[in-house]
Amino acid sequence: MKNYLSALTRCLILLLFIFSGIPLKAQSNFDAYVVTSAPVNDKVMGTMFVTLVDTNQVEFIEIKLGSSDGVFNLFDYSFVYDQTTSLPTGCTWNRVGTKLNLALGEFDYSDVQFGSVRVKSNGVWSDAFAFVTN
């Protein structure tokens, strides 16, 4: 009986290691992309679409956008989860289930945008979901 339990424990530990080694990729269901309007006087309106893995204990969604890698000069704000008031000018929060539709207001036009999205849950920030888009 003792040997059986020991083997079971080993199996469980092995499974734990196997699953903890799976990297977080786009197919983990977390997703984000940005849509911008046509530029007017070199300004655009932006909307960020985010799909969360789940909504448990989510505190903040950090959105950053820049015109070059690592420089977030276009937009940089952390939305408080489900807070729809007291947002920066032009920003709105909309959530349906795990899908977020976040208006980002107006910012400078850039041919290419570098984006970074992080989620803070249970006091811990996730790795950034980083993208570059046109």
């Binding site: 990297p23 992309y33 690592g70 290419v112 980083a130 570059v132 046109n134």
Partner: protein, 419 residues
């Protein structure tokens, strides 16, 4: 004793003052009048009655005569608005400022250094060796080979209207903007290499429809540097043998934006980059094959008539291509980046008129993400990381003939639509 010291100091200061005055007075301003003959080295041909020297400013105005230089010559500033200067196979060096608005300079080497060089109508048929803090290319026909480098902190905005008939190198090596073709198109009839090694953009054909007839090499190596070829309102023309290729210095960083380029020839284009390079194509038409290899590739509203191969390399960010592209030749796609996805139709759909091949063991590629995407040819999937319709785009199999979906791995369709 004290008085003697003051005397000595006074004399010393006086000497320094007189010496400096003497130096300043040597910097003259000379205007060509050519009253004696056509020789640069004849004193009586100049308004000051002396042959211009290294600290002097030279003005050459309108006229029909040709000024002949018979030895290597260095001056401080040059302003030429007319006449012709025959360098005689020697070198004419300008060390501070050159304002070239008319006339012609030929037969030798024109070496330009210092603070400011503007080409605004002077035609040249000589080798040009130009390294200046601020460069403006605003007109002139260049029949000789030219190397132009902008290395200062002030922006160099060129109006354009230049015709380069020989091999040309244009380089930016400083944190300021170098802009070409701001108002008028430039014409490059021979090979040209554009180089940017620093932050701030090198903007080619910024506000005009420049024309290229031969190889266009691109080198971009500075972190957060960028190079833009073309613009949103004019169509840059790649005619005859013109193709885009990677320059000798490589594409190792920054953003290459190709906007509104129209390639008429059927020569193959190949841009291969590394490290942090982003290649961004917007509203381009390529008749030749196109091969792009870079950590990030972005495609938007472009037409590819030939075969294309796009390879996303190395670990970087997810690449989200806007979409709206039409591919008439075969398409080969590969993602070598195991940590991020290569996404198509992020906003609007693409149209694949020919076969699509996903390279074996490719990492994640997302097709028809949000825009409905048409496939008219066969598809071959040899990787289990090819996903369709992650958002609400549909796959539409619209070929007139039977279409084959083969390969070793499953087709992960979420939505298939009708024609």
């Amino acid at each position: 004793m004290k008085t003697t010291h003051y005397n000595l100091l006074f004399r010393l200061c006086l000497t320094v003052l007189l010496l400096s005055m003497n130096l300043i007075s040597e910097a003259g301003n000379y205007t060509w009048n050519g009253t004696t003959n056509n020789q640069w080295g004849t004193a009586s041909n100049w308004s000051g009655g002396l042959v211009p020297s290294t600290n002097d400013t030279v003005n050459v105005g309108s006229g029909n005569d040709t000024i002949l230089i018979a030895a290597n010559t260095t001056i401080y500033k040059l302003t030429i608005s007319g006449r012709t200067i025959n360098i005689g196979g020697y070198e004419l060096e300008v060390t501070h400022t050159a304002t070239l608005t008319g006339g012609k300079i030929y037969n030798g080497t024109l070496k330009l250094r210092g603070n400011f060089v503007t080409f605004d109508g002077t035609n040249t048929d000589c080798t040009i060796d130009c390294i200046t803090a601020q460069l403006e290319l605003s007109g002139g026909v260049f029949d000789g080979e030219g190397s132009f480098e902008h290395n200062g902190t002030s922006n160099g905005f060129g109006d354009g209207g230049c015709v380069f008939n020989a091999q040309t190198i244009i380089k930016k090596s400083t944190n300021s903007i170098l802009r070409l073709g701001q108002a008028l198109p430039d014409t490059f009839k021979s090979r040209v290499e554009f180089i940017n090694t620093t932050k701030q953009p090198l903007e080619i054909s910024y506000g005009s429809a420049s024309v290229f007839y031969d190889l266009v090499s691109l080198t971009c190596t500075g972190i957060n540097s960028s190079m833009t070829l073309g613009n949103a309102t004019h169509s840059v023309q790649l005619l005859d043998k013109a193709v885009l290729v990677t320059g000798e210095g490589g594409l190792t960083d920054g953003i290459i934006t190709l906007k509104g380029i129209h390639q008429s020839s059927q020569e193959a284009n190949e841009l291969i980059g590394d490290d942090g390079l982003v290649i961004n194509m917007d509203s381009c038409t390529f008749n030749g094959d196109v091969t792009l290899t870079a950590p990030s590739i972005l495609l938007k509203n472009s037409v590819f008539t030939g075969d294309v191969a796009f390879t996303k390399t190395r670990t970087s960010s997810n690449s989200h291509c806007y979409g709206g592209n039409a591919f008439y030749g075969s398409v080969t796609l590969d993602n070598q980046d195991s940590n991020s996805a290569f996404r198509f139709a992020n906003i609007t759909g693409d149209h694949f008129y020919n076969n699509v091949i996903f390279v074996p063991e490719s990492n994640e590629i997302q097709m028809a993400y949000k825009g409905n995407t048409w496939f008219e040819g066969d598809a071959s999937i040899n990787s289990n990381e090819i996903y369709f319709n992650n958002s609400n785009g549909k796959v539409i199999l619209s070929g007139e003939n039977n279409q084959t979906l083969d390969g070793t791995d499953p087709y992960l369709f979420l939505q298939i639509g009708n024609k």
